[in-house]
Symmetry: C2
Subunit: 307 residues, 2 copies
């Protein structure tokens, strides 16, 4: 089943202990859709500037991603510059130029209307909510957010959360949103705000899937997927979005949202997150094969299975 | 097979968001031996002062732990006071009185000589090495250490590490010991110092078992055990020692050190670490039943298993 994703398509300048890249293709919707494209059809809604050319578009088309919802506006694309020199787990932002993104008004192409899955990548919760309301017939809605919206745009964020089935955030965001440092308690508080499923990402330690009590029956217990201890982390930019793409892309490829499908989706999320870190920007995932994904899935199974 | 453990038996005054306890029974050898006693026979070598009475000794005897190696010296027992008010993952030390521990000279009772397993809990590496050399016939030796010895007693620590089969430390310690922030690379560097197996503990995110290349055959791959997301962490003191007790106690109960036995040992370590946090000091583990341990083992399996 097809996924529509709304979010940023951007240029990133990134410095890590492994080196530096200038203006490589990035943005949450980019990383999400590339990762999800290995599992299902993906359609992107975003805005880019006049600096977005055929070379960038080709990265999407090589993965058969529908870009008819990527609007061209006068001006420059969203630009972010950051580094991970002291800590690979946390980006230090040097510059953020919203550019054409500052006046982004998501428009949903008619061809996207039959999408059964919707992913609201990390953008202004007012826009996330608008897209969600414009697509009332989708079967499953997942989304992401970040500390900035949690701290300074809480009412808009809470209104958006009511429309989500699944929220994917990291530890710090979950604790901040709930105002509670205990993870299971924070998870319950967040799920009371709307989403019946919550994925909390722990960076290099994996991720945990929480279910709202009674939401998915007895068989749906808390599940923890590992992360692979990586020999070399070249660039963690987009790892969280790639996790979301693997997770939601796999779910969209399944007939039913069974507990087993959700557990495998958590593993595919971890798999795609691990690949994302191995090269700068989209370099690794744009070149990936399904065989590499399946092999790594087995590596993850070996990493945690008792028998 | 019996384990001999050398380490501290102490009194701890602990403050956490859940409350405060004055002078409760603690020390690495205490937490280790209580956890290990559910799996095998345990014999303790330690020194205590005149303040260690029948009430404290009864905690060991209730779990059939051999205390003939606990020496009584003139003076007071080792005392530690700490709190976890800001961060449950890291203790803030307020006071450390070595007392009788300052002149500890481990003596090995004749009755302990046939122990096949030896655990060197976190004490001066000079003493750890002395005990290890005095028991040359043991089948398997595991040990722990901490940042203080890594930073300021490196030559003695390196000499001790050569005598270990298994080292159990946390992330920060592994990275500090290796001088490398990448975990798999740090693990290889640490295993080149002596131990052929390395357990790196990640606190609330579980633990990873690394094997030295070629040390245990093809089947021995890196393994990651989860930690249970706990509803309430009352007191994390002793969680690492309880992990070590569950891990090494389970191994000592097995005929052979197979990859499967090592994986299950990692789970039993996580199980005992999770119980340790649920009450102050030894309160939870001293009252535990084998049934509770087996039930929680199944909970851990459900937490991570795909199928």
């Amino acid at each position: 089943m097809a996924i529509t994703v709304v979010g940023s398509v951007a240029y990133d300048s990134i410095e890590t202990p492994a080196g530096r890249r200038e203006r490589c293709l990035g943005g949450a919707a980019t990383h999400f859709s590339l990762a999800a494209s290995f599992f299902t059809d993906v359609r992107v809604i975003a805005v880019v500037g006049e600096d977005f050319g055929p070379e960038q578009e080709a990265v999407f088309h090589a993965r058969k991603i529908d870009t008819r919802g990527i609007e061209r506006a006068k001006g420059k694309s969203f630009f972010w510059e950051g580094s991970y020199l002291d800590n690979l787990n946390e980006a230090k932002t040097h510059q953020t130029d919203l550019n054409v993104f500052a006046s982004f008004e998501p428009k949903i192409p008619a061809e996207y209307r039959d999408s059964e899955f919707l992913f609201l990548a990390n953008i202004d919760p007012v826009l996330q909510r608008r897209v969600r309301e414009a697509m009332p017939d989708v079967k499953l809605v997942a989304g992401d957010t970040m500390n900035y919206w949690i701290k300074d745009h809480r009412p808009a964020l809470l209104a958006m959360l009511k429309g989500l089935d699944i929220l994917l955030i990291n530890d710090t965001e979950a604790r901040m949103l709930a105002g509670n440092n205990n993870l299971p308690q924070a998870a319950r508080a967040v799920m009371a705000m709307g989403p019946r499923l919550l994925v909390v990402k722990h960076g290099e330690y994996g991720a945990t899937l929480f279910h709202r009590a009674g939401a998915d029956g007895e068989a749906s217990k808390t599940f923890r997927a590992p992360a692979l201890p990586l020999e070399e982390v070249v660039d963690p930019t987009g790892a969280g979005d790639s996790f979301a793409g693997g997770f939601f892309g796999y779910l969209a490829s399944q007939e039913k949202l069974t507990p087993g499908a959700l557990r495998r989706a958590m593993f595919y999320g971890s798999v795609m997150g691990s690949f994302a870190c191995e090269r700068f920007g989209t370099e690794r995932i744009a070149q990936l094969t399904r065989k590499e994904i399946d092999d790594r899935f087995e590596q993850f199974r070996e990493l945690t299975h008792l028998d």
